[in-house]
Every structure is written in C-alpha cells, then in structure tokens.
C-alpha cells in the first residue's frame, strides 16, 4: 500500500497523577479508514486531541509526521490548516443559523464585509447534493434531526478540503438508516483518497467499514492489524483485556401478572397545532418483563417515555396510566415518582445529572425526603446510603464527593442509574441506557437490568441499537410516526422485522 500520510510516534501524555497515553504509536495511510477502538478512558479522545492541537505541541512528548514532514500544532487552527478535520461526538453547530451559514461559518463568502448570501446558499447546496443528502441548506439547524445535523457537520469538514477526517462516535445518535447512509458516504470518501480515522463503540460498524483497526487500552496500543485479521471476539477481548463471554447475558425471569398499563395516550406537537407527537398509545407491561421500544429517531420513543413519566413534550389531550391496577396521576414527575416510576433519560448531561454537584448530591436528589427531618438533611444517613450505591454500581471515582462532570460517560451513566435505584422502582423507564459508553460498562448495565427483572421490576427500554433491543428484551414495540406500528415477541424479534415496521 501507499506511504502513511500521518504518523504519530511514541506519544506520551501526562495528566496530573495519571499517564493518559504511554508511548502510543499510530499511523494512517492515504485513502484508508482506520478504526480506533477502546473502552472509555482508554485514551482515544486524548490521542485525537493531540492530533487536533487541543493539547499544544509542548504539552506531550513524541512526534507527529504529516506527509513525511514533522509538524507542531499549537492550536486547533494549526491542525485545521494542515488538513485535519475532527467531528466531535458533541456537535458544534450553531443551532439558530441555517445549514448554509453553518457550513461557511468563519469562512463566509464576503465582499467588503457584506455576506453574499445567495452565492453561499447555492455553493452549500452543491456540496450537500454532492454528498447525496436530502437537506435544504436554508433550513435552520434546529429544524433538522440529530442524524442530519451529523451529516451537515461532515459536509462542513469536507468543505475545508481536509485530507484527514476524524469522526468520534458519529453514529451514537443515528438510526440504522442514517448510519448506513453515513457509512456508505465514508466509503466513497475513502475511495476518493481521503483518510478517515473512525472512533466507535459499535463493533459491527467498525468491521463493516474499516481497513485496519487499532485497539487502545489504558493509554497503550494493544495492537494494530488489518480488519480481516480481527474477529468480534478477539476485538472485544483486546478492548476489555479479559474474556467477555456473552455481551447480552439474558436471564429467564418469571414474567408475572400485569404491572403497568398505558391507555390511549395522545400528545400534541408543541409547535404544530394539527400534528400529534403521540397518537393512541396503549400497551401493558408485566412484572419482571423487559419491554423494548424500537423505532427511528423522531418516531416518538423518547417522547412516549417522558409523557408516561409526567413530563410530556407537548399538551397531552388524553391518556391514563395504571400501576398495579390503580390509576395514578401523571401531571408531574413528582407524582409518578411517588407512584413508583423511575426514568433514566437519554441525555445524561442535559436532563440526567446536575454536573456541578457531586456524585452523592446527584444520587440522593430524587428521594432526598428520605434523608430529611423538618427540611434538614441528615448528612450521615445520606452519605451511608450513597456510598452503598456507589460500591454496588462500581462507580470509578475516588469518593462520592467527586463532581460528576469529571467522570467518564460510563460512570456518569452509573450515577444516573444510582439516583433512580436508591429506592427500587416498580417500573423503570430507560432511554438509550448505554449510549456512548464502553463495552464493559454496557455489560454491567445489562446485568443490572437483569437483576431488577428478577426482583419483579417492569422495565421499558428505548434503544437505537438493535442488537441491544434484541439481546435484552422479552417483547418489542416498534414505533413509527408517533404510533405503535407493531408488537414483536420471542423469535419474531429480529433486525429485519423491526426495520420493516419502523421505516
């Protein structure tokens, strides 16, 4: 094959008290898709931050060679100029601007300081059409779904004529369809000679798309090899550093009587008067059952969970929920929490955790009353209870006084689970419970779900990862455009069936 376009040699990066990268070497060939995998905290992001100049040249040791020349990046500008574009997991688009404005952000087509808007729109549209994306560039970013936003971000990077594209978990928020589209696009780009570094937790994708795979673990390179020389098991073992026999350790629990009923829920769209986000939703959940809710993004899965939990995204015009045969109010989360519901929301940073508070304060917040007398918090009681959960969930931090914003994604997710499991709920609603977290933490969460199941908790899981839905659910509802389109059970839960009913 060709010469490597990028070589990172013996990179060592220290943080106070921790060596984040320990002599990592990594190279990328022209026109290849090189997957970089590893658990959270393995050092992938740190390595990419070095490549993108976030950590300036002097703050680490080792060398960067680009097109045969040694380079020193002191800022992200330098690396951009050198042709490296990074698309972060958290999108960096201006929500209130149009697609065209975002694509040309910081590089507007101007004459004497005035923006030539029409030329910009037509140029942007050309670019978007070239990528075969069905997007009107005059639309505001906020109007697009998260999947399309991701594609806009890629278009933006391509506009800069970058030769190396880094994608950090690009499909975490995408549906299967969107993912397929993205992967196809990346393959075409690599065929045209662009080099792509692809970071992902999704092993199937990695195998589908990459030419080579590098595994990092605890800041060291475990191995770089052609994708064809890896297999699923060897890759997982390399990432985790131990044998992981079963990704989805399913348990056969006793599925009992009906625990929870949802009847005829209708919710209006907050902006569009004539449209319903949810229409005529009814279903039942049994004790010890795991019910999956599948569907494309925008099909109303998340909205369904938050409506059940008492936080509807629009006006709820009808609907009842019954727990153990008794109807309960669900106007506010407080009412449903008292009834015995718990809701692990999709976006832990925006709606799950208070990042500025520590682990203890986040865990105890839901049932703070249990630690209070006359409104005063009994700190010792709180600490003891939270420490118990901290140990049970194996949250990796030095103590419960650590701010949650400093935790890794998997540990943050465990903290969210902790706050809802401080008292065992009767019904647990999980929205994308393993999004963006590493394999090891995923299995821990599956085990936890199984444990609750055995205790008779009813569980509803929304997930975009079909293997996960298939692996852990007893029954699956497929949603489409705010309605339940199909119910699948047992052997009929397959990827094909789900996609058939979702799309």
């Amino acid at each position: 094959m060709t010469e490597p376009i990028l070589i990172m040699q013996d990179i060592v990066k220290d943080f106070p008290g921790v060596r984040a990268l320990d002599k990592v070497s990594f190279d990328v060939l022209k026109g290849e898709i090189h997957a970089l995998v590893g658990e959270n905290g393995a050092g992938k992001s740190t390595l990419m931050k070095i490549l993108s100049g976030v950590y300036p040249h002097h703050s680490f040791s080792g060398s960067l060679t680009l097109n045969g020349k040694k380079v020193e990046f002191n800022s992200t500008k330098d690396s951009e100029k050198a042709g490296i574009a990074i698309i972060h997991q958290e999108l960096t688009l201006a929500n209130n601007l149009s697609v065209a404005e975002n694509i040309f952000l910081g590089d507007e087509i101007c004459k004497f300081g005035f923006v030539n808007y029409s030329l910009m729109v037509s140029e942007a549209q050309k670019l978007i059409d070239n990528l075969q994306l069905d997007i009107d560039v005059r639309m505001e970013i906020a109007e697009l779904g998260i999947g399309k936003q991701q594609l806009v971000e890629i278009a933006k990077a391509l506009k800069k004529e970058s030769s190396i594209l880094v994608l950090d978990e690009p499909t975490a928020a995408l549906t299967e369809n969107e993912t397929a589209h993205l992967l196809k696009l990346l393959k075409e780009l690599s065929a045209k000679g662009k080099s792509i570094i692809y970071i992902s937790h999704k092993i199937e994708e990695v195998f589908e798309i990459s030419n080579r795979i590098t595994v990092l673990r605890d800041g060291q390179t475990v191995k770089t090899d052609l994708s064809s020389n890896w297999n699923r098991q060897s890759l997982i073992n390399a990432m985790v550093g131990r044998e992981l026999s079963d990704m989805f350790p399913k348990v056969q629990s006793e599925i009992g009587e009906v625990l929870f009923e949802v009847e005829n829920i209708n919710v209006k769209h907050p902006q569009i008067e004539s449209k319903n986000i949810l229409s005529d939703i009814s279903f039942k959940l049994r004790k010890g059952e795991t019910l999956g809710i599948a569907g494309l993004i925008g099909s109303g899965r998340t909205e369904l969970l938050s409506t059940i939990f008492g936080a509807p995204p629009g006006l709820r015009t009808s609907g009842k929920i019954k727990l153990e045969g008794e109807e309960i109010n669900f106007q506010t989360p407080r009412q449903t929490i008292s009834g015995g519901l718990a809701f692990v929301s999709e976006d832990r940073k925006n709606s799950g955790l208070v990042l500025g508070l520590n682990i203890k304060e986040n865990i105890s917040i839901v049932h703070l009353n249990d630690f209070c007398k006359f409104g005063f918090i009994n700190e010792n009681k709180e600490i003891l209870k939270c420490e118990k959960l901290f140990d049970q969930l194996d949250i990796r931090a030095s103590s419960i006084n650590v701010l949650v914003e400093t935790l890794s994604g998997g540990n943050q997710q465990k903290a969210v689970l902790g706050k809802w499991l401080i008292k065992q709920p009767k019904v647990l609603l999980l929205d994308e419970p393993t999004r963006g977290i590493d394999v090891g933490a995923k299995v821990e969460i599956y085990n936890l779900i199984n444990k609750l199941k055995l205790n008779g908790v009813g569980i509803i899981v929304v997930s975009s990862e079909l293997p996960e839905i298939i692996g852990i659910c007893d029954r699956v509802l497929v949603m489409k455009e705010g309605k339940i389109n199909a119910e699948l059970e047992g052997g009929s839960i397959t990827q094909e069936k789900i996609m058939e009913n979702a799309a």
């Binding site: 943080f15 106070p16 008290g17 921790v18 959270n40 905290g41 300036p56 002097h58 002191n74 800022s75 605890d218 938050s306 939990f309 936080a311 506010t332 989360p333 407080r334 929490i337 008292s338 809701f343 929301s345 925006n350 709606s351 799950g352 955790l353 208070v354 990042l355 500025g356 508070l357 304060e361 917040i365 839901v366 703070l368 009353n369 209070c372 409104g375 005063f376 918090i377 700190e379 010792n380 600490i383 003891l384 420490e387 990796r396 931090a397 030095s398 103590s399 006084n401 650590v402 701010l403 400093t406 935790l407 890794s408 540990n411 706050k419």
Partner: protein
Amino acid sequence: MKNSNLLDGSKVPLKLNLRLFSMVIILVVMWVFFRLQVGSFYFSGESFAKLSRDMVSWTILAAGATLVIVSGNIDLSVGSLLALCAATAAILINPDYGLGLSASIAVPIAILVGTLLGAFQGFLTAYFKIPSFIVTLGGFFVFRGMTQKVSAFDPRVPDKSWIVRIGFDYVPQNIGWIIGIAACIILAVVLLWTSAKKKKLNIETLPLWLTISKIVIFSLIILLFILKVNQYKGLPYQTLVMFVVLVALFIISKNTRFGRYLYAIGGNMQAARLSGIKVERKIVGVFALMGMLAGVAGVVWMAQNQGSTKNAGEFYELYAIAAAVIGGTSLMGGRGTIFGTFLGGLVMATVIQGMDYTSLDNWLQLVVRGSVLVLAVGIDIMTKNPPLWLQQFKYKLSRKNSKA
C-alpha cells in the same frame, strides 16, 4: 483501580478552599495597605465597628442574592424593595405623617411586605416564565416609584422607638464577650460532635487536627473582633443582625432540602424537574426569602438613618450582586456559597471604607469600586480557567526563562 478514571476530580474541594484563601490574602493585603495610608486609626476598634456596620444592609441583601443567583435567577429589585420596606416601616411608626404604630408591629409588617412582593416576583418568574431579569428590572422601577409615594415626606422615626437602637446602639461589652464566647463554644461543639459522629459511622472526615485548627482559627477571629469592637463601644446591634442572617442562610444553603434543591435547579433545571423537584415552588420560595431579607435590610437601613428617604438603598442591588460574584457565585447558576459572599462583602466594604478614609474624590471612588469588581472576578477566572492565549503566553515566557 478506583482511581483509574479520575483526573482531577478529587482536587476540586481543595481548589475551592484555595480560592477562599486567596480572597483572605487579598483582604489582608488591602488592610495593610490602608493601615499604611490611614495610620493607626485604621486598626482601631472604632474603625472595625464602622466597617462591620457599614456593610450590614447590602451584605444581608448579598446573602439572599447568592441563593437567588445559585437558583439560576437574578434579582435587580432588592435595592428598591429595601427602600420600600424602610419607607413602609417608617411611615407606620411616624406619628406626624403616618400611623404612629409601635415598632414591634411596624417592623413585622414591613418585612411581610417585602416577603410578599418578593414572592410575587418569583411567581411571575416561575409560573409565567418571564425571565427574572425582566421581572425584577420592572420591580426595580415599580418599587422605587412606590417608595417615592410612601416616603413623600421622608418620615422620621422618633428617638424613643426601640428600633432606633438597632441602628445606633452597641451590645454592652460584657454581653458582647458572652456572645463571642458562646459562638466559639457552639462552633467547637458542632464541629467536634459531627466529626465524632462520622467517625462512629465509619464515614470519612477531616483529620482531627484540621478540625481543631479550624475551630481555633475561627474562635480567634471571633474573639479578636469582639476585643476590638469592645475597645470602642461594643458590638453594634446591626452587625449582630447581619451575623444572625448570614448564619441562618449558611445553614439553609448547606443543610436543608430547600438549599440543595436550589443548587440542583440552578445547575440543571431540566434534570431537577425530572428528579421530581417542584421547580416553580422553589423559585417562588427563594424570591420570597430574598424579599424577606430586603425587608430586614430595609428595617436596618431605616434604623441606621432614623427614618426613610426616597433614594434609600440606591445601587444596593448592584453592591449585593457584586459581593456575591466577588465571593465566587457563578451568574450561570448552581455555584456559590454564603461564606464566599461574606468575604466578598468584606472586600467591598474594605474598599469603600478605605477610600472614604483616604478622602478620595467621589467619582474616583466609583471608578475604583467598579475596577475592584472586575479585577476580583477576572483574577479568579484567569487562575481557574485561563484562556488559551494566556496559557500559551505563560508557556512561551517559561521557555524563554529556562533558556536564559
């Protein structure tokens, strides 16, 4: 293993303390500076008593403002509300233009007025989703206007009313000592008792020597302060009121459910709501508390001035916010402490008083006050979250030095 994912999370409490520590150093530097400028009078008992007295009304406001800001809101109306409460109390007490009521009736009514008006602003903010900046900016004008009406004749409070003593009198020296010593004993007992209880339950706690040195340091400060003010006329009653308010708010912010909820709401409103917190009610609550404190501060102001005027408490809302922000309260919400605000108030008071003593021109005083605010917050941000250009500059400097 437990530490593997931890970069610097554990250092955060230390960082916070470092921040408070740096503020104490700033204070000491300023004191030394003014001592050199002003002469021995600056460290006299009279000077201390005055310093503690002058900061009372807006430090009370600042303590409330801290909680409002922590909850993710802001209150611009408190200066006007203070004036309105002062005017209300004065007109109720004044026998010529007003009702001639006893202060024991007028004072609670004035505080109640503050509380209700504060709660109403909170109600508009929480239930109608009008941003608190707008609601309280409206209140800023409305309450000032109402003050001009109520205080049309600048009502005075007769000398014989007990409330005047709060503004002018001092706790007798021996009772001052008793209060000081009692405060030290309570502090020691509370700290040692919680520490012992934690140990019994096997909960990690500060090492004993740290607890004891904490007790010793704070006790020394308290006793030294009492000693100083007793060299003059004793502890001013209004200062005592301020300390009571500060301690109460310290406890509310640290040890109550309400306080914890405020931090959660300010840190992440959506998460707080989904955790079952009745966000709206808490916001009404914190504005009501703020209004009540504006009432208390208004009464103190009235006592200091033995009556009310149309322009009482002007700019106090800004002093309050400034003190809170200098003390480390984040305008983004979710972060801030009462103790920090107290230090922030002390910094502000020191600057104001020091400049008075050096008889600086009024216009220059305002310039310095504003500069101190921006400087204090600026230094804090530069040390905590230095922007990239500063990091690079520092790096280049250090490289040059090492070469030379």
